[in-house]
């Protein structure tokens, strides 16, 4: 968490370009981590003033580079410059965006954070043009750009083409569900307990006591144990509780 926060802070404050991958199995909280970090970032004074724009792309939605580029243009609100001009071709679009990003330099432009969800799907785009260009910008003295990829595939680096790989900074943040059963129980309890600021205090007290009892119950523990042995995914726990 602190690593990612620091990384993004530097991008915004110093205008440094970076790229990173967050890798972890499904349900390990990659997106949650990123959202949390972004929320923290927005609370920091310096960052808020520098207005961090972040196009969010998902590999499941932007199925090819053409769609992805259009989406980036839309999310960066560059359309106002374009006016009602319709982009003729993919090539024009790409040239347009590159031109836009090339204009900036480290000190004057607003930093941009690209979030690529389901990063592994972007890898399968033709020639990996989008990734190459994004990483290339992050490696050159243009508009400060941070590219964050989210994926669950452990072998993601092998999928990158060598020149794309060379441009990627090889920062990888691995997220693992590396907790044991005791911690699992704690999470279970924390999920069920009512927070302190609950309006009816007496009720909250009573509820939390019951949760405590529940977590010590043998039958409940058995069920949880079984689930834990099957999967450490927290989402399955949520599903069970619901």
């Amino acid at each position: 968490h602190s690593h990612l926060l620091e990384l993004l802070r530097r991008t915004t404050v110093h205008g440094e370009s970076n790229s990173a991958l967050i890798i972890g199995p499904r349900g390990s909280g990659k997106s949650a981590l990123l959202n949390h970090v972004l929320k923290d970032l927005r609370e920091m004074n310096q960052v808020r003033e520098n207005l961090l724009e972040n196009p969010f792309l998902s590999g499941l939605l932007q199925t090819n580079d053409k769609v992805a580029l259009k989406e980036i243009t839309r999310q960066l609100q560059l359309e106002n410059v374009v006016g009602d001009k319709v982009f003729g071709s993919f090539a024009e679009n790409l040239a347009f965006l590159l031109e836009a990003l090339r204009r900036g330099n480290r000190t004057s432009s607003c930093p941009i954070l690209f979030v690529l969800d389901e990063f592994d799907l972007f890898v399968h785009h033709k020639n990996q043009t989008l990734l190459y260009n994004l990483f290339d910008i992050s490696q050159s003295a243009q508009t400060p750009v941070t590219v964050i990829g989210l994926t669950c595939r452990q072998d993601i680096l092998e999928l990158l083409e060598k020149r794309v790989k060379s441009r990627f900074s090889h920062r990888q943040i691995y997220l693992m569900n590396s907790f044991d059963f005791k911690e699992y129980l704690k999470i279970f309890k924390a999920q069920l307990s009512l927070p302190d600021e609950f309006p009816d205090e007496a009720f909250a007290q009573k509820w939390n006591n019951n949760v405590q009892h529940l977590s010590e119950d043998k039958a409940v523990q058995d069920v949880l144990q079984k689930l834990f042995q099957h999967t450490k995914d927290l989402r399955s726990l949520h599903l069970l509780l619901v």
Binding site: A100, S169, Y174
Partner: protein
């Protein structure tokens, strides 16, 4: 205008050879005859004439003066020229040396020695006018032949602008004078054996009759309205007669305040002329009459005359239209005091407004000169015509120019349509070469203020077509690095370009020498540069180009154009053409058209074209099935006149052999260079050179990084990334320790982070049943001896293992869930899951790794 390009031109010598050299088998001529097949017009160009020569860009032909004409041994018609250069041809950096606004019509006497002055005679397009002016002199507003009149004030020798020497000035003047004589007596020159249509005759009559009169335009417009050539001839003669009278009147007008009788006479005269002009009597609209009255009154400062309106009622509708427009323009000027506008008038007024901003868009071409309040009708008329013409030309420019405007409003188009029938472009054009400089100058004096005053504040705002997008600026300035570590990190970023590239001196020198020699020779060539990613190929090439550009600026080398394309940044290999053409000429066309244009550009000898250095990055992505992109790219440099140097960059050394066809590979040539991966010593040097002056790294730490990277890939980018990460780790750990220096420990941590295999960690953190599943896979593999198994087989093992461990065995669907989870992480390679239990499964990593990961527990 475009007919010139479409129609076929035939070039033939004019006159007999003056003197011929037996040995060289050359013979000189004093003129060349250009006959256009389609229009049957012919032009005779003499020595000393100013001409337009076909250039790289069809919209911007070169300007030159014809010095010599000869035919060489192989029957090729050649011409020796003295070049003039347009502003667009002068490098951007040098333009500021001028320190003044330059109109599009101004050219510079070219004294650069590097240009080829010997051109093929077939490239001559037509004759134009170039008028020498003194530096202080105001640029006269171009009147009749805006497109074909140029002005020269200064000379340009590649380094600085100089005032024309008196010698050249007088020479140029002389050339112009000589032209006059030729024009006036050109009838005698025209050989009788060539087709001389009636048109020709009338033109010559016209020419001789209206010497240096600014009524040329008037006549032209009348010509356009009259139908028969007979009438035309008769008419022009009449006009000539009239004109003899008019100058006297004009003189007087200028000297003294206009007397009533004189102005009356003049007004009548003009109206007479107009009257005469029309054969058919057409009913005239009342508004037109009114306007006409106003026109005469405004122009002459005398009350409207009854005979005038009587006369005008008879004039043709066409002339009326003409007058309408004219009076509109008159009204725009503040001098006119017209109060009553009819409804229609207003419409026209608006129209005129739209028209005039376009007309005045040409910056600097109009200079403010105070004009006399009273003005002759002729002058006004011509000025109105000029305004029209300017706008027409401008619109033409807009339409045919590189950025053909889509945004031109429909009103403008309407305007255009209206104008064309009245003063057809072709007509005016045919008159252009014959108008003498004197006349153009004369009428020019009258116009400037007029045209300037017409600039209204409410121009139609054009939406910028080529709006360049920009990322919004940040509000807060980026922070400067505060600590040593931050400084170091900044320097270690790949984007931080060092002053020099260490460890690539040899390659740098090789490429530099290659390009330099080609530049000096003015020939073309290819070079293929290969090397694994991150070995500094692109950086080195850019460094070379930078050095060359510097040398060119210091005049050690001939100037050149630099174009870069990147295969990765193209969406389609054919887009390469588009990008190259856009770099070279600024035109935006489709890929196939661009290819044609480029092929033409590189295969025809362009006399003034500079050498082009083209860098093609990521060459392998330009591969197409027929390989025509690559073929063309490497074929152009082999052409004789291409002056194209290609530096192709790619990752693989054997690319030419592997993917290129023979004909492509052979054209690529054998000039190759390969960038070896950096050795650890070189990497060490790179890091230390970047960190010069900043004490942030331990020596050993740097060495460890460079050795590690050199052993793996030799990628400098990786090396820098590791160092950067190490500084971050150091910074995090710094709180406890005071000294800010990156130690071995930090570097090791960074390396581990980057190179550690994620699999082992992933397995260790998997859930119990996932681990058991992996164990089951191993057991099944061992049993079957094949590295592949179905889920069913694994399931049996899994259940057995569970029994051994005393766990409850999972259900089949749970098994499938586990399997797909591992598959999503790519710990397993799972077949498409349609087969349910018979899905085949394979490990994505070595069995030993799995064993190792599981054993630890």
């Amino acid at each position: 205008m475009n007919t010139r390009q479409q129609s076929k031109l035939i070039y033939s010598w004019y006159g007999k050879p003056l003197n011929s050299d037996r040995k060289l088998r050359t013979s000189q001529y004093k003129g060349i005859l250009i006959v256009s097949e389609s229009t049957k017009t012919e032009t005779c160009i003499q020595l000393g004439d100013f001409i337009l020569v076909e250039g790289a860009n069809a919209d911007q032909p070169y300007v030159a003066q014809l010095m010599d004409l000869y035919e060489n041994g192989s029957q090729h018609k050649r011409a020796v020229v003295q070049w003039f250069c347009r502003l667009a041809e002068i490098p951007q950096g040098k333009r500021k040396l001028l320190k003044r606004e330059i109109s599009a019509q101004e050219v510079f006497f070219d004294q650069i020695l590097g240009y080829d002055t010997d051109i093929a005679a077939e490239t001559i397009i037509k004759r134009i006018m170039v008028l020498p002016l003194h530096l202080g002199e105001e640029l006269p507003v171009i009147t009749l032949n805006k497109e074909q009149t140029f002005y020269v004030k200064q000379s340009w020798d590649g380094k600085c602008f100089k005032v024309l020497s008196p010698d050249t000035f007088s020479k140029l003047k002389e050339a112009n004078k000589k032209r006059d004589v030729i024009t006036n007596s050109s009838k005698a020159f025209i050989p009788s054996d060539i087709l001389t249509p009636v048109k020709k005759e009338t033109e010559s009559v016209l020419r001789s009759a209206t010497k240096s009169k600014n009524v040329d335009m008037e006549i032209e417009s009348k010509h356009s309205s009259s139908k028969s050539s007979r009438a035309k001839e008769r008419h022009s003669q009449r006009v000539a007669n009239d004109d003899i009278k008019t100058p006297a009147a004009r003189k007087k007008l200028e000297l003294s305040s206009p007397t009533r009788s004189k102005s009356r006479l003049l007004g009548c005269e003009v109206l007479d002329l107009l009257d005469d002009d029309c054969d058919a009597v057409a009913p005239l609209k009342p508004s037109a009459t009114k306007r006409k009255v106003q026109f005469t009154s405004d122009g002459l400062g005398s009350p409207p005359k009854i005979p005038c309106s009587n006369d005008s009622s008879k004039s043709a509708s066409e002339t009326a239209e003409h007058h309408q427009r004219f009076s509109d323009t008159t009204r725009l000027s503040p001098y006119t005091k017209i109060k009553d506008f009819s409804e229609k008038d207003k419409n026209l007024h608006e129209k005129g407004d739209i028209l005039s901003p376009v007309g005045c868009q040409k910056p600097g071409s109009l200079s403010p000169v105070l004009t006399p309040r009273s003005r002759r009708t002729c002058a006004q008329k011509t000025s109105a015509l000029i305004a029209e013409q300017i706008s027409m030309l401008d619109q033409d420019d807009l339409l045919s120019g590189s950025d053909s405007s889509y945004t031109s409003s429909s009103e403008e188009e309407e305007d255009d349509d209206d104008d064309v029938p009245c003063t057809p472009e072709k007509k005016t054009k045919s008159s252009r070469p014959f108008s003498t400089p004197k006349s153009s100058r004369k009428s020019a004096v009258h116009t400037p203020a007029k045209t300037l005053k017409k600039t209204p504040s409410q121009g139609t705002p054009r939406t910028p077509r080529n709006a360049t997008p920009e990322i919004p600026r940040r509000i807060q300035a980026a922070q400067e690095p505060a600590s040593v570590l931050e400084e170091a990190r900044l320097r270690l970023h790949v984007s931080a370009v060092p002053e020099s590239l260490p460890c690539r001196e040899e390659e740098f020198q090789d490429i530099y020498n290659f390009v330099e020699s080609k530049l000096i020779d003015g020939t073309g060539g290819c070079m293929y540069i290969s090397g694994v990613p991150g070995t500094g190929k692109t950086a080195t090439v850019h460094e070379v180009i930078r050095c060359l550009q510097q040398a060119a600026e210091n005049d050690e080398l001939p100037p050149f154009q630099f174009v870069e394309i990147n295969g990765m940044k193209l969406t389609d290999p054919h887009q390469a053409y588009v990008q190259i053409l856009e770099f070279l000429t600024g035109q935006k066309v489709t890929a196939s058209h661009a290819a044609v244009l480029l092929a033409k550009l590189f295969s025809t000898p362009g006399p003034k074209r500079n050498t082009t250095v083209l860098v093609v990055d990521e060459l392998d992505l330009l591969w197409t099935r027929k390989q025509n992109v690559m073929y063309n790219l490497f074929d152009w440099p082999t052409q004789k006149h291409s002056k194209l140097i290609i530096l192709a960059i790619a990752n693989t050394m054997d690319l030419p052999e592997r993917i290129m066809m023979n004909r492509v590979a052979s054209r690529l040539g054998l000039t190759r260079m390969s960038f070896q991966p950096y050795t650890y010593k070189q990497l060490q040097q790179i890091i230390s050179s970047r960190l010069k002056g900043v004490k942030a790294f331990e020596e050993d730490a740097v060495q460890l990084v460079s050795r590690k990277v050199a052993a793996l890939s030799g990628d400098a980018r990786r090396c820098l990334d590791i160092c950067r990460r190490a500084t971050e780790i150091c910074e995090l750990a710094r709180q406890k320790r005071a000294p800010e220096i990156v130690k071995m420990a930090h570097v090791t941590e960074a390396i581990d982070e980057m190179f550690s295999s994620p699999y082992v960690n992933a397995i260790r953190n998997a859930s119990l049943h996932e681990q058991i599943f992996l164990k089951a896979i191993l057991a099944e593999f061992r049993r079957a001896g094949v590295e592949e198994a179905t889920v069913q087989q694994i399931y049996h093992h899994h259940v057995a293992l569970c029994r051994m461990e005393g766990l409850q065995s999972p259900t089949v669907s749970e098994m499938m869930a586990i399997c797909s989870r591992l598959g999503a992480c790519r710990l397993l390679l799972v077949e498409a899951s349609s087969k349910y239990l018979h899905t085949r499964v394979r490990l994505n990593l070595g069995q030993d790794d799995v064993m190792y990961a599981l054993k630890e527990e």
